[in-house]
Symmetry: C2
């Protein structure tokens, strides 16, 4: 029995207790975006440091201006690349809570109609379930062989869902400690439940919130209606004016730096057999929106977008209130591709917004940190080793995909620490991350652990 | 000393206790639009019935499908018109509560920088303070002379701020009991703090709420952005498309039935010396919005409008959440003039909304009862008597004005009970009705009581 086969067998015998440990982590309410949950965020960090120490890492919690980091090291002293594994222990808010079929922080295994089992809880997929696949792979390796096959450093952050404000300063001040030969990130998805994937193209992001202020107080809409400015109308006009009839974003300079998809990538994507009807059908929709001269996978992976994540102004309660509110709000995120510059996009957006605000009204902005888009070299050696490992576990070629959501850490690793990143994850489209009833397939957790063991094994080979 | 002079003297000696009684009523949280406050609404009705009985009316609380009515009668047996006085004991919600400088239901008298005194509380102006001016006038009349100078019926409702759903059925089933020669309504304002006014032109209203539904659940805006429909964008486009660049409402047929202002009325309004800069300046604005070919008083009194009183969709909390919400909402009110038909306006609005909702999304509507606009005959005898009474009290001619807000009861009285209505009120532009820190000038309360005594006196004369 080869060393990797013994490790895989250990993963099997460990599996029940692996699940118990994941459940313990899922019970911690580590919502990073809401200051009310600062204590549970630290609790999750403490839990992870303890966990890593218990399997033989030298791990500790590191304070930041925001939620803490967890850093752990395990030197094998063997040749082969030194890898940095990254995951995040923070989770999205749970609202609307009334749409959850259970307490989001009381994880449950549910058997679905097709017999498959899923782990339901906030963070089960994004990203606690994913990061624990690596931790459990490392545990099995060390328990079975006494060591890891290569040097491994682990970095867990707690602010991924709130723009990672502390990450850049932390990477800067810990550059020596964290610079490795290669980064591994487990925060992405499979192509489908049977087909693994490695993400090679990530959209960037920049966000902004606007507060449009009109009258000094709420007004009676009968008494002032038709004369006083209504900030609801102003914000609506700002939102409505962002797209033209062809689905293009209207901001001046918005498409500067957008790169046309290389023909070979375009062909590979065509070959993936993606059905936008199925993709949208799963969430009750039918027709792709967006730029009407682009293919569906371009909309999702290689074209820039703007979405309004929230808007509000005036009365929202039961019944009616004849009011013109003093203020109205909206939260925007832009997804960026190619060489689009987050700062320039934000500046263009703000110029546009100001041009739509009447002279006797005003607008305040609340910025959200931006990060540019990222593409990987298709011929990177670690990429080939990852593909071999995944094929051994899943029996199918891994899809090389784009990602609609941004993972800013990958850009930071490249720019600040000079590392390429292998993005392998086991999430699925129907995981409902960021939504009520988030789940992670039991298979994703199980074969995810096995996959990481195989990746470590492949990376240790010459 | 004439009979009216004795009544006025009695009003002076009563005034402290009149204020105490008003404060007792203001302490009751009779918010009609929120079902949570049903008990305080009934408490206010009980309080008023007891009050009317204590001064010599035969009064009782009458159940409806919603909040109860209060009806009281006092027959003088004297000649002269039998009048029906109407007011409403319900009040607007108090949100945003954090902008109140005091508990909205703990009334306080405050002295302002110019030395004037105001009563601050939710409902102090709209409409508890106003309705109590009539009750206290009646009390003084009966206490001083043993009777009222004419027959008086009083009707108080508790659903004015939530569309008066029970009013029409109640008027229908109590037609005989409530049909009088003339109605008096105290729910309007003065021209300014020194100049009384009688409202002779009222805008109508119709409202609608829309719920636009897209995906079956909230989506990750990175994963689905650029492809899936975003209901925030749809609702924003619906709102933005309602007006053209000239401020005109774009709904087909919207201006059907709108009547041009008669030239004499237009001249009288020009003579009022209205300054839109001052009007808007008081609430921190400068430039009138609305149809750009119309005068400011037309915007406010004689032109139809649409306002979005509330809109919301997606994440509103602290920080950011990268979500495409499953639903977005907006609440609309249309102010109607001339012979505009509320039903036709609503139908046209709904056709428009449906035309803007993509094929794989849907929209639900929640209607708000409509009422057409109303104009009074400028030569009505009761109007002249009202003008005489007000001039005696205030020493100035009353302004004959339009009203931007709707008072549907006036239309109901005309159509269902065949009565004209004298609309006299003592509210002021800066009363902040429907807003935080609502107030009623102490002068309005004091001289308002005296004015009603004089109006009753004038109406009793041949």
């Amino acid at each position: 029995m080869s060393s990797i086969d013994k490790v895989l067998a250990r993963i099997e015998s460990n599996f029940e207790s692996s699940l118990d440990r994941l459940f313990d982590l899922l019970k911690i309410k580590s919502i990073s975006t809401d200051p009310e949950f600062a204590a549970p965020c630290r609790e999750a960090a403490d839990w992870l440091a303890l966990e890593l120490n218990s399997i033989g890492f030298e791990a500790s919690v590191r304070d930041t201006a925001g939620h803490p980091m967890v850093v752990g090291h395990r030197k094998s002293g063997k040749p082969g690349p030194h890898v940095l594994f990254y995951g995040h222990y923070d989770v999205q808010p749970v609202d609307p809570l009334e749409l959850w079929e259970q307490d989001p922080f009381e994880p449950k295994i549910k058997t679905r109609e097709d017999g498959s089992k899923v782990i339901v809880a906030r963070g089960s997929s994004d990203d606690k379930g994913q990061l624990m696949t690596f931790v459990e792979a490392a545990r099995a390796y060390i328990e079975e062989t006494g060591d890891l096959p290569i040097d491994v450093t682990i970095l867990f952050e707690g602010e991924e869902e709130s723009g990672s404000p502390s990450l850049e300063p932390f990477l800067k001040s810990h550059k020596e400690e964290l610079s490795c030969d290669l980064a591994l990130v487990c925060d992405t998805g499979m192509w489908d439940a049977e087909t693994p994937a490695i993400a090679v193209m990530l959209r960037g992001m920049v966000g902004d919130e606007i507060i449009v202020k009109a009258a000094s107080r709420d007004l009676h809409s009968g008494m002032y209606g038709g004369s006083a400015q209504n900030p609801n109308h102003i914000v609506a006009a700002i939102i409505a004016g962002l797209h033209d009839d062809n689905g293009k974003v209207t901001l001046p300079g918005f498409y500067d730096g957008v790169i046309e998809l290389p023909e070979d990538v375009s062909k590979m994507w065509d070959g993936l057999g993606f059905s936008v009807e199925e993709f949208l059908g799963e969430v009750g929709l039918k027709y792709p929106r967006g730029e009407n001269d682009r293919k569906p996978l371009e909309h999702l992976w290689s074209r820039p977008t703007v979405e309004v994540n929230g808007m509000w102004g005036g009365y929202q309660g039961a019944g009616s209130k004849t009011v013109i509110p003093a203020q109205a709000h909206a939260k925007f995120t832009f997804r960026l591709v190619g060489d689009q510059d987050p700062d320039k996009i934000q500046a263009s957006f703000r110029d546009y917004v100001r041009s739509k605000v009447p002279a006797d009204c005003s607008v305040d902005f609340i910025a959200k940190e931006g990060s540019p888009a990222l593409r990987l070299d298709f011929k990177m050696p670690a990429l080939e080793k990852g593909e071999i490992a995944l094929k051994k576990e899943w029996g199918k070629d891994a899809a090389l995909t784009g990602m609609g959501g941004s993972i800013p850490i990958v850009g930071d690793f490249k720019r600040m620490l000079g590392m390429d990143t292998l993005m392998i994850g086991y999430g699925l489209e129907d995981d409902q991350i960021h939504s009520p009833n988030e789940k992670y397939n039991l298979t994703s957790f199980h074969k995810g652990i096995r996959s990481w063991a195989r990746v470590l094994d492949e990376l240790s080979k010459n």
